[in-house]
């Protein structure tokens, strides 16, 4: 209730003109007054409440909140897996969902990388990566496979093409999954705690790989996590969420230039950002714990 939109921060203002043109990047998302109530109205659970913020194009925006706070609900609304109760979500001035259109259509302009990974276990790596263009009918099978091989080579994953996802490490699987997403030239990548199941050492490798990929493609990234360090390390912007109902509590612009590498973690600036936000996150974690929100 004591939410105060931080002034002066461009991303807090949903009415600000879309930053789509900036640097030729596309994929700005404007989330305005989004409410999501599960179950019947009145008696249902309010997962997201009056949530407003802006995901600028060509930037990494990280949403931080305790487990089960409702941030995945927001991601599902953007991706088109769930409807919203009220409010609007725009992608580059096109309405994704809003009044009269409660649910967005899922499509290859916004691709999700899932928490537990969703490479099809029954398709080889190269078949997985080539899947998008083939089902969309954008490329022939042959061309799609060629592009997929190039894409894999670019990320250093060649030689894995004929393997099945079950045969490679989970870290590799995450990277293949991102390659599969990038095959479609999406405007936005939606990452739902993709590194949650990894150990911290593999995670650090994954972070650098993700930043490398980002520098090459400059795709808008909407990243969900409950790990504050991960958020500050990766994000241009960090949105700290309140726990159920979920809405921005604090929005932080991380002024550390990209490309970043792991030396950032020990930098003074990084520590300062962490100090600035850790209190807010901890407060929400306590609230979530008290509310009996269990780890999902």
């Amino acid at each position: 209730m004591n939410y105060e939109p931080p002034r002066g921060s461009p991303i807090a203002d949903a009415r600000a003109p879309a930053l789509a043109a900036q640097g030729g990047c596309k994929g700005a998302i404007r989330i305005a007054n989004v409410v999501k109530i599960y179950g019947s109205e009145g008696a249902g659970v309010r997962a997201v409440d009056d949530c407003t913020f802006h995901v600028p194009a060509g930037k990494i925006t990280v949403v931080v909140g305790p487990s089960g706070c409702g941030k995945t609900t927001l991601l599902n609304a953007i991706a088109g897996f769930h409807s919203i109760t009220s409010g609007t979500i725009h992608l580059d001035d096109a309405l994704l969902c809003g009044p009269g259109r409660p649910k967005a259509d899922p499509g290859p302009d916004r691709i999700v990388v899932f928490q537990n990974g969703a490479l099809f276990p029954w398709k080889t790596i190269v078949e997985n990566v080539a899947f998008g263009p083939i089902v969309q009918g954008r490329l022939s099978r042959k061309a799609a496979f060629e592009k997929a091989r190039m894409m894999l080579a670019e990320t250093g994953l060649h030689n894995l093409e004929t393997n099945y996802p079950g045969e490679i490490s989970s870290g590799m699987r995450r990277r293949v999954e991102i390659a599969r997403a990038l095959m479609n030239d999406p405007k936005v990548l939606l990452l739902d705690e993709p590194y949650r199941a990894l150990d911290s050492l593999t995670k650090s490798v994954m972070h650098e790989a993700l930043l490398e990929t980002f520098d090459r493609n400059r795709v808008t990234i909407f990243f969900i996590t409950h790990d504050l360090e991960e958020a500050i390390f990766l994000g241009h912007h960090v949105v700290i969420m309140t726990t159920r109902p979920c809405r921005p509590k604090k929005i932080l612009t991380v002024d550390i230039p990209h490309p970043r590498d792991y030396s950032v973690l020990t930098a003074k600036r990084f520590r300062e950002y962490l100090d600035e936000t850790v209190e807010a996150v901890h407060e929400e974690a306590l609230k979530a714990f008290a509310a009996g929100e269990r780890e999902r």
Partner: protein, 308 residues
């Protein structure tokens, strides 16, 4: 899900940096070698010897109780030597052995019935199960009727099947089909329902249409359950076939068992039982092999899990 199995890979990834690649596992000759290796491993373990003890005990018990001690009740049963000598006798006492063409005719007739029923059940049960799992609306209409009929065991249909269908062949195939059909449909439906929703969502995200999601996600995703269902289906097919053949019909192993009982040709009866077991085992092994062939991703995944 099986993340823990790959904990070791972390070291590889770290040592070689973010562009690490995994060596391609050897295929082809490697597989042969490994099966020879596994054979040697097996022979070095106590398992084959325990198995021998098991069979020796089983056959010994049968032999001693029936043929040596001639215990009451047991003495009326055919003993193992009587069965085996009859089975391999070129000139069988009761007219049926490995050398008589009639023996193979019984096997063939039964196998053909099972095969027809199994194929029919697969052709109808798999699509029905896929639809039941895929469309909630369809399930809401059809499943209650399915569940209404399912508690009636297929074998209780015997007389009705005889009345409903002409001849002696169709009723038996119908009974066999019915049992298989339930198993296949139910497992296929469970298979679709077991698919992680993330796979479906990922496919939609990547621009797949509903029909493509069905073919690229639902069908392969349900495959492991479908094949479990098909294995059960073969098993229950033999199960009900025997009852059908015993009650009505001419030829077939169930018929053979029943007639040799009434004509007091007990060794032949046991030959029929053993043959039934062997043929049943072979058919279900064939389904398993086919399943492994069609789901190589799964076999390779499991092999990885075992090594890691």
């Amino acid at each position: 899900m099986k993340e823990s199995a790959f904990a070791g890979d972390m070291n590889v990834a770290l040592a070689q940096g973010p562009t690490a690649v995994l060596a391609k596992p050897e295929r082809g000759p490697g597989r042969l070698e490994s099966s020879a290796y596994r054979m040697a491993q097996w022979l070095r373990s106590p398992r084959p010897y325990l198995m021998l003890i098991g069979f020796a005990l089983f056959l010994g018990f049968w032999y001693l109780t029936v043929e040596v001690w001639k215990l009451p009740r047991f003495s009326q049963m055919p003993g193992p030597t009587a069965v085996i000598t009859e089975w391999i006798n070129p000139d069988p006492i009761y007219g049926l052995s490995l050398y008589s063409p009639e023996y193979y005719q019984h096997i063939w007739v039964s196998t053909r019935r099972v095969l027809i029923a199994f194929l029919l059940a697969t052709a109808t049960g798999v699509p029905l199960g896929l639809l039941l799992g895929w469309s909630l609306r369809f399930k809401e209409y059809v499943f209650p009727v399915f569940e209404l009929l399912r508690p009636i065991p297929p074998l209780a249909w015997v007389p009705l099947a005889i009345i409903m269908f002409h001849g002696s062949e169709t009723p038996i195939i119908f009974l066999t089909f019915l049992a298989s059909f339930y198993a296949t449909t139910l497992n296929t439906m469970l298979g679709v329902e077991s698919i992680d929703v993330s796979f479906v969502r990922a496919a939609y995200c990547l621009g797949a249409k509903r029909r493509q999601v069905f073919w690229h996600v639902i069908v392969p995703g349900a495959m492991p359950f479908i094949f479990t269902g098909l294995q059960i289906s073969v098993g229950v097919a033999w199960f009900s076939l025997v009852a059908g053949e015993m009650v009505s019909g001419q030829y077939g192993l169930g018929y053979l068992i029943n007639t040799s009982y009434t004509m007091v040709q007990y060794p032949t009866m046991v030959i029929g039982m053993i043959t039934l077991g062997i043929v049943g085992y072979v058919t279900s092994a064939a389904v398993r092999v086919l399943g492994n062939y069609l789901m190589q991703w799964r076999a390779r995944e499991l092999a990885m899990g075992a090594e890691a």
